[in-house]
């Protein structure tokens, strides 16, 4: 009984912390980008104000929208909240380890995409349809790359369980700089860029119809549902960042209560480092034409395949 309570407690704690940190991470990336580009940028806490403001506002719903439009934000948020419990973030064992693995994570991401892409089509607006169409096309190329990365990691650690994979890496510290590990990391970073809608795959700061993907699907949302979607997107971003840290930099994960503060600090440091990498990438590259995105994701798939080759051939 106490074991169940402990895992429920861990689950709530992990989800709560990720939910609280998620908007801040976005603010941090925005701020870093601004500084790199010589601007002052919005306050660090701006995403919190935005989400809170949206959650308190009335919403406007299209007369053509169906129940799909109404329930999509809830399902979208629930998918990422569940996914957040599959990744070991600061405790060495993820709260849902044993119930779901890396493939379940991919499945939950797909379910969220399904819900939002349908919602994009639901109002009849061409912007929504365009966003959905592009989202599913980009994701179709990102998903194989992601799975190949996960296979490369799983091939080494013995299975698709994420907690086992990070525990394995901790026990074999040298493997961090193995060629396969570096190649897989590069592939995963590209996938994360595409999945979080960042430059060069998408632009998170624009509503210009020629370029937008994610924002296109959200265009008809307003008020509280939009607040939920924005917060859930922040959560998606922090879950993907946690996936990178769990698979490639799992050091400092706690396995005893006393180690939790250190693990938490280590997690924050890793997030800041990743945020810096993302802001560098975004500041130093230009948005790709939509039809050039496949080349970028093709490169991710190729890197992931090379990681597999390196893993299998150079055991």
């Amino acid at each position: 009984m106490s074991e169940i309570l402990a895992s429920v407690g861990l689950a709530l704690a992990q989800l709560g912390i990720l939910l609280v940190l998620a908007p801040g991470l976005n603010g941090l990336i925005k701020r870093m980008k601004a500084v790199l580009q010589g601007r002052k940028g919005p306050p660090l806490l701006q995403p919190y104000f935005d989400v809170l403001k949206l959650l308190r506002k009335d919403s406007v719903v299209s007369e053509h929208a169906s129940a799909v439009f109404r329930w999509a934000p809830t399902l979208y948020a629930a998918c990422f909240a569940t996914a957040a419990l599959l990744v070991p973030v600061f405790w060495s064992r993820a709260p849902l380890a044993g119930w779901g693995d890396a493939i379940a994570l991919v499945g939950l991401f797909a379910l969220a995409r399904f819900a939002l892409a349908l919602a994009g089509l639901d109002t009849g607006s061409a912007f929504g349809g365009m966003g959905s169409s592009r989202e599913v096309a980009v994701a179709a190329l990102a998903e194989p790359a992601l799975l190949l990365v996960l296979f490369a990691v799983a091939w080494r650690s013995g299975g698709t369980d994420l907690s086992t994979a990070s525990a394995y890496l901790v026990s074999q510290a040298v493997a961090v700089v193995a060629p396969s590990q570096l190649l897989a990391l590069a592939a995963l970073v590209i996938v994360v860029i595409a999945e979080t809608g960042r430059v060069p795959a998408d632009n998170p700061d624009t509503h210009l119809e020629l370029t937008m993907i994610h924002e296109g699907m959200l265009l008809e949302y307003s008020g509280r549902p939009l607040g939920i979607l924005v917060w859930a997107s922040h959560l998606k971003q922090i879950v993907l960042f946690s996936l990178i840290t769990a698979l490639f930099f799992p050091f400092g994960l706690a396995s005893a209560p006393a180690e939790v503060p250190i693990a938490f600090g280590a997690f924050l440091l890793k997030l800041v480092a990743l945020a810096f990498v993302m802001s560098l990438v975004e500041s130093s590259s230009a948005k790709l034409r939509i039809l050039r995105v496949p080349e970028l994701l093709g490169a991710a798939s190729a890197l992931a395949m090379l990681a597999l080759v390196a893993e299998v051939v150079i055991r």
């Binding site: 299209s62 849902l96 349908l118 639901d122 929504g128 299975g159 039809l291 299998v312 051939v313």
Partner: protein, 601 residues
Amino acid sequence: MDGPLPGLVLTWQLDGLSLLFGLVVLSISAVTTVYAIGHARHHHGFPGSGLLYLLFIGAMLAVVVAGDGFTFLLAWETMSLASFGLVLTDHRRAGVREAAWSYLVMTHTATAFIVAAFLLLARTSGSLAFADWSARAPAVDPVAASIIFVLGLVGFGTKAGMIPLHVWLPRAHPVAPSHVSALMSGVMIKLGIYGLVRLSFDWLAPGPAWWGALILGLGVTSAVLGVLYALMEHDLKRLLAYHSVENIGIILIGLGASIVARSLGAQAAMTLALVAALFHVVNHATFKALLFMGAGVIDSAVGTRDLERYGGLLRRMPITGLCFLVGSAAISALPPLNGFASEWLTLQSLLALGRASDDPLTALLPLLAGGALALTGALALACFVKAFGISFLALPRSPQATEAREAGRLELAAMATLAFACVALGFGAVPVVSFIGQLVPLAAVPTAGSALGLTTAGAGRLFVPGVALVLLALAVLAAIVPRLLGPVRSHIAETWACGITLQPIHEYTATAFAKPIRLMFRDIVRPVRDVGIVHRAGTRFVASVHYRSHIAPVFERYVYLAVKDRLVAAAHVVRRAQNGSLQLYLAYVFAAMLTALLLAR
């Protein structure tokens, strides 16, 4: 040959594999029959011939319980001819007869290959009984075994709709009445898989690894190309037919992986892959039959199979819409439904196979096949966002769609049953997988069931009800927690269309939706577009623009037409020997007799 003449006594056998496929035949046909009766109530009688329909079901059942080669072929031919007759139901409509003919030609070519394989098997074992074939399988010469295997692969693969032998499937399935399409796509093509499983695991001894690698490669090709062609379709039933090609590909990936694992002696990976393939057989039968019945309901409500003329159907047909949504999510391999469970198992088996082999090449290929499977899953999701979103959401795109009415009670009951089955097979994946493991004699089930969840020899685990429960709990939280910030209202207003009133013509179309994917994969799907601009006489003003976009039929043009042209050319050569002169024919007879006498001396 010992025993009575073949055909005098029909023999039957019922083992685990027969039972599994028999259960699929019986349960799906029970549901489609309810659907067909419901359809008959509202429309002009039972669609097509009831007798042929029953004969078709009976023949499918006979195929899986046949105990010798003759009985099997008798049942197989009855099945093919009955379904040919059913495809011809609307024979007055344009294109139906051509589709039926191409089906008949393909299915008979396939049967010829199966007959050849059976004759070779009968020759080496001296009997037509399946029991003798499996008993004497180890005695078959390896080269002969490989020949038998390839013949059987072509024969059964054609029935299964494996690329490049799939061309009949997207023609014949859409034109049949929907309850027949549901049976053909959901069940009949699976009997090709049944034949392949029997051939490679029962009638022949474990073969070389290339057998499995060949099936694996064909599976990957079928899966990826099948879903790409499905995306290019906007005829709902053709789209679903191409998805059958895709899902057969997924099943073949599992089957191929298990054959490779068997030749490597990797027992755990073999069992896992075979169980994954058989589980996907069951799952695909449920959601594909569901989706075809949904397509049938929409077809009769709107009067067309063209996606571009649907739209807004969820408001008019809410229960059909919900069932179709469940089917779409299941076929897109979304948790917590059954399609996800079997794709999860297939991926795990590929990983297990990769880990089990020492040779880098055989380790890499299954892992890369896993990447292809992920691509397939993501494209299937894109396709069903299109199929559901364009048909059921937003504004009706045609007056007929505005008038659409919900289907009758029996049709809805049939669809709801299968939608429930999609959920139940996902939640109950563990007992179902252990059941399949027990039915298939090879399965020592080191894999299939722990008390907690699906688990594999490695460290991967999945407990579908647990994930679903957490998902549901968190969805409830996501719905409730924001309410703590106080009440908000939602106002109903127009969709923003840049200041004009939204018309159906402003909506994204199915063709436009698939355009990014069409362009990304243009080297594979070969889109062709004609744009024609007509100017007003004597001016530069445009009077009309026409735009047509279609996909070059690569296989038809480069494979089948090429073969047909060669055949016709060969026939011209042969015709020279036939000049109609009686004396010449007598000379042929004489020469043939002389040769026969010399040979038989």
